[in-house]
Amino acid sequence: MSRFSELGNALYSGEKSVDFIGRRKIWYAIAALVVALSVILPVARGGFQLGIEFRGGSEFRVAAVAEMGDQLARDTVHAVLPSVEPIISTVGENDLRIQTTKLEDVQAEQIRTSLAKAYGVESNSVSSSFIGPSWGQEITGKAITGLLWFIGLAAVLMALYFRTIKMSAAAVLALIHDLVVTAGIYGALGFEVTPAAVIGFLTILGYSLYDTVVVFDKIRENTFEVEFSETATFAERVNLAINQTLVRSINTSVVAVLPVAAILFIGSVFLGAGTLKDISLALFIGILVGTYSTIFIAAPFYSHLREGEPLYKDSAAKVLAKR
């Protein structure tokens, strides 16, 4: 028998138990610290680096290119501006389109002439212009509206299913924690925010809430009519539920995070799939944070909200008096 399923047995029976609820002040303190850092660090770095898709940028077009590969163009841009990551595609028969973040006129001119030199064409067959954002205010505005509606509807759905609004409150709090922390780590590392990264954040949102609902369903089951119990308090039952679902939480997050981690570490470090790193980083952080917050924030906070209710307080007092 594997030691892990032995652990599962012990956690299920309560033989072994981690006191998640009792140490909640520690978890709250950690969460407050991490959230504060998630806000401070990106600001200290000068805010988020938004990609071309959000801010618009400069566009160069090299006409009638002999060699179509994108490496030469990438190297040329890097030679002038090492920190700029260009988006390169071919247009029409043999034109090359190179998009970068918005450049100063001098820099743009420099890139234009170096591109002409690198591709061995006349400098006037390289054109330079500005492009607007393809992910405009409109998309962002609608995405935010959609998000708010979703969080509102999900809160209502959970309140109806679990028959308490406090579960919705705890789940939404954990969700906000996840979004702030994921965005914070992303910003602190100085990764460029691309549409792919935004999609990553949205995916995390779904995953985080999903994970919370699974654990909350076990809590609902364990705390059913706990007020009549003479052996366990509300908080203990919540703690037991977290412990009983701990093996599930670990297994699920490992299974979810393995493919993402493979893309992030093997893919972008060894194989050079650089453009996948933005989305896989958002997902990697988000899955881990999402699992963490269910156990260390959502569940303790829910218990916190409810154990003070007179019904549970009275029964807990009786149970403790008996011991």
Binding site: S2, G132, S134, T145, A196, I199, Y210, D217, P259, S280
Partner: protein, 576 residues
């Protein structure tokens, strides 16, 4: 034996599941054989496959430049039009500034004619009152259209505009010049034309002056008054069948129009003026780029900003007109400057490397699940494989039927879906193990564990589905594509776990290898009847199989308080 009944039932479910997979595969194959553009390979989006880049420049007449506001509005409208054709994640942006401003539309793959038309349809939509109309006899007679000016309209000149017109419907708009232009107009300039083509591409009309024009087909020509409402005054348009006064649905298609608040007021004024007039002056014409698309008569004064256009519409005509009215309201008109192929922004090698890395990740998932679930890993891996096949086929069908295209964000959604799908099995297996720990035999544990797990699976997937539907309805572009993928994988997760994983486990539970709790079965759980944890709240020491089915609902809901207390007092010694 009830067990055999269960096994038979599970086999039936599995059969249905595989029929579904084969059905989808056969659907694609059959459509392919019948010549439809179906394929076993899903289409890819712009970032993975490249596509077509169309540059549109505003045509505003001499020396005028489009404002950024107008361009942004146009981008939003073009995006709506493209989104309406399916989930294709087009990229629409502005380029250049002031006089050089343009809109760049990039759409994946090779767009079909209809999509191109939709984007290119520069579509400046306007409402003008009809002053007069006749059949265009010049081309209706056919033959040499250069001789057409001799074919005079049958109606006499309606007025000689001399006084200053007092309202847009005033016939004084028809000055001698206008009348001359009208008489000489022939809608189709060439004998071979099947549609009206007398206007120059990008021709700009003065909204304050009358307009001489034709309908799209070139069958009728019109003199129209000045512009009364613009397309931007329309807030929505839809098509549907009309209802009779008794509420019964008539087999008659109509287009419903809603105006914005300001538009509704203007339309009220228009109908107040037009309603008492006689035909054709009681009609108003809707023009797109100067061509009349419809010219209905006013048969009521409409004050609530909601109009209905009826006529002998087919369903397709009604839908097309509604789409034109809804999405046709660009603030300015555009001309196509260029249309070129564009390559993928993600290099092919990068995608291949990403997929290779993802493959390695999947291999790690398999190793982990063998380590964790031993023999049960067959079920996990099998379920993930069939989920992958089903997802792949559904995507292939949708990219054929709905224009769905797989983008990088879509792939990311699918990768995370591995986690969510696997979670359903994990929740289920852990529940079965919990029941085994209760001392139930495997077949009973599978049944009870399933009933408990399915509730969790449904509610958690319900939340995901809610996210998907909300985001799909409310958002545009990439976010919409993501929502679609999320919804799709969530539904597939439910299907797989209910129709594949559970039946398979039911069958396996009846085999000796699993039911004996073999050490490699993944169900070798210490089922000690002796222990009772402090969280334990079930009475049953060993539950008979028949009873175990009943207890599948909330066990303690069925207990009386006295029973529960008895049970708990029996075990309380062991607590603490």
């Amino acid at each position: 034996m009830s067990d055999n009944g269960l096994v038979r039932n599970s086999r039936k479910k599995l059969t249905w599941f595989f029929l579904l997979i084969f059905g989808l595969a056969a659907l694609i194959g059959g459509a392919q054989a019948a010549g439809a553009p179906a394929s076993y390979v899903p289409s890819l989006a712009l970032d993975l496959q490249g596509g077509t880049q169309i540059i549109l420049t505003p045509s505003l007449g001499e020396g005028k430049a489009a404002t950024q506001g107008q361009l942004d509005q146009a981008v939003a409208i073009i995006r709506q039009r493209v989104d309406a054709t399916g989930v294709s994640e087009a990229q629409i942006t502005t380029q250049g500034e002031a006089a050089n401003a343009a809109i760049v539309v990039s759409i994946p793959g090779k767009p079909d004619e209809a999509t191109l038309k939709l984007i290119k349809a520069s579509a400046l939509l306007e409402f003008r009152p009809v002053l007069t109309t006749t059949q265009d006899t010049s081309t209706a007679i056919g033959g040499d259209s250069t001789a057409s000016p001799s074919a005079k309209p049958t109606s006499a000149p309606i007025a000689t505009g001399s006084a200053k017109p007092t309202s847009p419907s005033d016939l004084n708009w028809v000055t001698a010049d206008v009348q001359k232009a009208y008489d000489e107009l022939s809608c189709r300039t060439k004998a071979t034309s099947t549609v009206a083509d007398f206007r120059e591409a990008g021709q700009v009309d003065d909204p304050a002056k009358p307009l001489v024009t034709c309908d799209r087909e070139g069958a009728f020509k019109y003199i129209l008054g000045p512009v009364e409402l613009a397309g931007t005054d329309i807030s929505d348009a839809s098509s549907g069948t009309r209802s009779s006064s008794t509420g019964a649905s008539l087999n008659e298609w109509a287009v419903s129009l809603s105006f914005s608040d300001a538009g509704g007021k203007k339309f009220w004024d228009v109908t107040k003026r037009l309603f008492p007039l006689t035909d054709p002056q009681n009609r108003f014409a809707v023009t797109i780029d100067g061509y009349v698309i419809t010219a209905p008569a006013t048969n009521a004064v409409i004050s609530n900003g909601a109009a209905e256009i009826t006529g002998n519409f087919s369903q397709t005509d009604a839908k097309a007109l509604a789409d034109q009215l809804k999405y046709g309201s660009l603030p300015i008109s555009f001309e196509v400057q260029s249309q070129e192929n564009i390559s993928a922004t993600l290099g092919g090698s990068q995608l291949a490397n990403g997929l290779l890395a993802g493959g390695i990740g999947l291999l790690l998932v398999i190793i982990y699940s063998i380590f964790q679930y031993r023999g049960l890993a067959i079920v996990t891996i099998g379920s993930l494989v069939v989920a992958a096949i089903l997802t792949y086929l559904v995507i292939a069908v949708l990219s054929w039927r709905q224009g769905y295209r797989l983008s990088l964000s879509g792939v990311a959604g699918l990768i995370v879906a591995i986690g969510i799908t696997a979670d359903s099995f994990i929740v289920y297996f852990e529940r079965v193990r919990d029941e085994l720990r209760e001392g139930r035999p495997l077949t009973a544990a599978v049944e009870v564990g399933w009933k408990r797990a399915v509730r969790t699976i449904i509610v958690s997937d319900g939340v995901s589905l809610l996210a998907a539907i909300t985001l799909f309805i409310l958002t545009v572009g990439n976010v919409r594509g993501f929502a679609f993928t999320l919804g799709l994988t969530t539904i597939i997760d439910l299907l797989v776990v209910a129709l594949f994983t559970h039946p398979l486990l039911q069958i396996l539970a009846n085999t000796k290898f699993f039911s004996s709790g073999h050490k490699w079965s993944g169900f070798e759980v210490r089922a000690s009847a002796g222990y009772r944890g402090r969280g334990e709240f079930r009475v049953s020491e060993s539950v008979s199989q028949a009873k175990s089915k009943k207890t599948s609902r909330e066990v303690n809901r069925r207990q009386t308080i006295a029973e529960r207390k008895a049970a708990e007092s029996g075990i309380s010694k062991k607590d603490q």
